[in-house]
């Protein structure tokens, strides 16, 4: 296939609240190519998870995907599909793994039962066939003694094991697209590395694409080839992973990278981006990041920036693309001392 596997255009997902509609995802567009790993990063509340749930059409009412949004998967428009055909896609063509595997597993069934259920839902496999396929999947995900483990209940397994079970469930039908929503956040660092390695290995074997949702830039650097940075319901920067780390353009991306502690760098305190993500019911006017941005000037308050192309495969939703001299000027003033940073904030 030459075209993208998944193509999201102008996705808008809103939730009605007493304070007016919360525009959790507000005009997001991106593509995922076959066998590609795309990272989706951003702080909590910026719309990452809502984006992924929208792709699977799992937004709970009263939340809804607005008309005009388009999600094409393998050439099929998902948003107009009837529920029965959508169900045939969920779990078989697009799978999802969740952040907290303990919460995502039904406590009253054995894990083998739950993995086998996927085959029972999507194929005509008998109970016995489904079970043996489940055990085989558990072996593939690196679970030792899978035949024995399959008969255990979720609470009897460790966090890493449970996440492997979730992965086994998600990959049972060898889906072309896997959405991994913070797959390693709830795990120990050593287990994190193992799970990421496992995902990479299975990706090679199955030949699938991964949409990796995370707030951890370390995870992105290790696994993704392309990165989408989300802020306040919008994609604010899109770039290849190397470019993003070497030459981030959007001030929000800069801030995220600066907040990551680096080895061998002596720092009294971790740097943070001041403030928090604003409420989805009232995004700031103009650039949604302007109230937290060190470079912001009057244009940022007045004018909502489009996605400017910065270079090959790099886009940024920041007016600095048109007025790059401001970044240089800001750096010069902030280097002179405290006065610099305060003027930058006041403008």
């Amino acid at each position: 296939m030459t075209g993208p596997l998944l193509s999201v255009r102008d996705l808008r997902t809103t939730f009605p609240t007493p304070n007016g509609p919360a525009r959790a995802v507000d005009g997001v567009s991106f593509d995922i190519a076959p066998r590609e790993t795309v990272g989706l990063v951003g702080e909590s509340g910026c719309g990452k998870s809502v984006t992924s749930l929208s792709i699977l059409r799992l937004i709970q009412p009263p939340g809804r995907i607005e008309a005009g949004s388009r999600i094409a998967f393998e050439g099929t428009e998902l948003l107009t599909l009837d529920e029965r055909r959508m169900r045939a896609i969920r779990g078989a063509r697009i799978s999802m793994i969740f952040q907290e595997p303990m919460a995502a597993l039904n406590p009253v069934f054995t894990v083998g039962d739950q993995i086998a259920e996927v085959a029972r839902v999507h194929t005509t496999a008998s109970r016995r066939e489904a079970w043996s396929r489940a055990v085989e999947m558990m072996r593939l995900t690196g679970i030792s003694d899978p035949a024995d483990r399959a008969r255990q209940y979720p609470h009897e397994l460790s966090g890493g094991m449970r996440q492997r079970v979730m992965i086994a469930m998600a990959l049972m039908m060898s889906p072309p697209l896997l959405i991994a929503d913070e797959p390693t956040t709830a795990l120990d660092v050593t287990i994190q590395a193992q799970i990421l390695e496992l995902l990479r290995e299975l990706q090679q074997r199955v030949g699938m694409s991964i949409l990796l949702i995370t707030h951890d830039l370390g995870v992105v650097a290790e696994t993704a080839s392309r990165v989408l940075v989300m802020y306040a319901g919008e994609v604010v920067e899109e770039a290849h992973v190397h470019m993003l780390f070497e030459a981030p353009h959007h001030p929000y991306t800069e801030g995220l990278l600066a907040a990551v502690p680096r080895l061998g760098e002596a720092r009294e305190r971790l740097r943070v981006i001041p403030g928090t993500v604003p409420a989805a019911t009232a995004w700031p006017t103009g650039c949604r990041f302007h109230d937290r941005c060190p470079y912001a000037w009057d244009r940022c308050v007045a004018e909502h920036p489009p996605l400017y192309q910065i270079g090959v495969g790099q886009w940024s939703r920041c007016h600095l693309a048109e007025e790059p001299e401001r970044r240089v000027a800001h750096r010069a003033t902030s280097a002179t001392g405290i006065a610099g940073s305060s003027t930058a904030r006041d403008v």
Binding site: L58, R87, R90, A92, S95, A104, N106, V118, V121, H155
Partner: protein
Amino acid sequence: MFSWLLAALLIGGVCWGAARWRVAPAAHPGPWRTAMTRFRSQGPAMASVYLLVALVVVTALAPWLVSFAPTDTLIAASEQAPTLTHPFGTDFAGRDVLSRVLYGGQVSLPVAFLSVLLAATIGTAYGAAAGLASERVDGIMMRLIDAVLAIPRLFLLIAVLAIWGNPSVPMLILLLGLTGWFGVSRIVRAEVRALRGEEWMMAADALGASRRRTLWRHVLPNVLSPVIVAATLGVGNIVLLEAALGYLGIGVQPPTPSWGNIIQDGAQALFTVWWMFVFPGLAIVLTAMSFNIAGDALRDALDPRQVGQR
């Protein structure tokens, strides 16, 4: 005399069997197994289960245990105090009270079981439907329940039976079942609402499970334990309620004996014919108490917060 020996042997045998009965220890005990192990470790609960099993067996075997039919009238021997031939005495018509109590159990117990089964089924279906429905529909369904619950159940039954008159036993079961499911539906609805927030419900959707499959595989097994507890406690209640209706003369109609109407038969001379209310009363109290104790123990055993304890 022979019948008493048989009864004693039977009760003893059942208790012995139940005490010896053991589930083979599983390598990975599931939640149900764990709960059963916890339940079985509670002395009073097991005692009440043995008692109930014995009661059911004895009433079921009534034809072989008693030498008088419940409707045999021995006019010469009316209103006799307990003797060896009539261990529970006789009533005003000279009918053997022991026989009537045992045969009465054949009516009272199935009435209780079946009406609770009906109530639990309707309540679970209604509650699950409301729990899975949209906010609006759920609101309407639950306000309806609030409205019906505002009418006392006994009052409602008396009103209906006063209009209807002389209900047959199946009719009585239907009536008790249809007026008994409101509480269960509230419990189930609350459980389902809570389950909807669970991530694994979302995960089941994400894997492509259909609504019906989600309901059967994921919702019902998880709401079953509160329903079982409510139903167990409910049986005790229905036994009392049925007795109350029988006593008021609007329950099971004579000459068919039930625990309630036997007491009614002796109500005119309560203080002289004490055996007329002591023995059926004992049957009622023991049954209701046993179901309550067992229900409470089940509640403790099935409580997920107690996983790992005991």
